[in-house]
Amino acid sequence: MTVDAYFYIILVVGLLSTAVCLAAGILKKAPNDVTILSVAAVEVSLLVYLVGSVIRVISGEPIAGEAWEFWGYLVTAMLLPPAAVYWSILERTRWSNFVLAAVGVTALVMAARMNQIWY
């Protein structure tokens, strides 16, 4: 499987975010600036992936798989962090940090699939 820099960015940021949120949840903390910002960092890395991909398509690089499937994954992945943050600040308990922790790994899995589609 070919992987690119975008995947590695999301790998590092996503796993870090998941680790931070898991740790906060295990320590029985409610979502705080650190955990919410770590999820925001996942969103930023997805945004980088989006901008990079748009530039690559405009400059003529082809997507090997179904283009709309790729964009579908990317857009769905970008909806996850805001949805999780919204869901977690409605009830600020430690469990909301586990919800936030799910974002990083989910984004990672989706980024792996996006790489598969692209190459």
Partner: protein, 154 residues
């Protein structure tokens, strides 16, 4: 139990939860979030399979769509208050458990008849076995928060 107390306290928060609906608080929020992710991904996958290659394996792709529907119903019913929604949740999670066990077993013992992937194939191996774990956790959660059960801290 410290968790229960935190949960009960949060239940009186601005979300406006009543003691009758304690399924969408605490661990339930995580459960609903994971169900929501599966509802979205299973729906997208089934939609994609049916729109692009339905004739290849109608049975498998209808099964995908059915699984997606079960996840959607489970997600919505877990988030809703009341004993009716509780029953809907139990039904959806039981159907999910039976589905993952039956489809998982069939895909192992008769891979020729089930060559096309669904969420439940090989007990959800393609999804880190979360489809197998989820209904079990769901039933445990529903049992602990069944209507009429004495709430620990409330």
């Amino acid at each position: 139990m410290k968790d229960r107390q935190t949960t009960a306290a949060a239940g009186q928060g601005p979300a406006g939860s009543t003691p009758a609906n304690s399924r969408n608080t605490g661990p339930g929020r995580l459960l609903i979030a994971v169900y929501a992710v599966f509802a979205i991904s299973a729906s997208a996958r089934a939609g994609y399979q049916i729109l692009t290659k339905f004739s290849e394996a109608p049975l498998a792709y209808l099964l995908s769509a059915f699984a997606a529907l079960v996840y959607v119903v489970a997600t919505v019913s877990l988030a809703k208050a009341g004993s009716t929604w509780f029953k809907v949740s139990v039904a959806a999670v039981l159907v999910e458990l039976v589905g993952v066990l039956v489809v998982g077993a069939l895909s192992v013992f008769d891979p020729v008849a089930f060559p096309h992937e669904t969420v439940w194939s090989l007990f959800g191996r393609g999804y880190a076995f979360i489809p197998l774990l989820l209904p079990i956790l769901g039933l445990v959660w529903l049992y602990r928060r069944r209507p009429g059960a004495k709430a620990a801290a409330a």
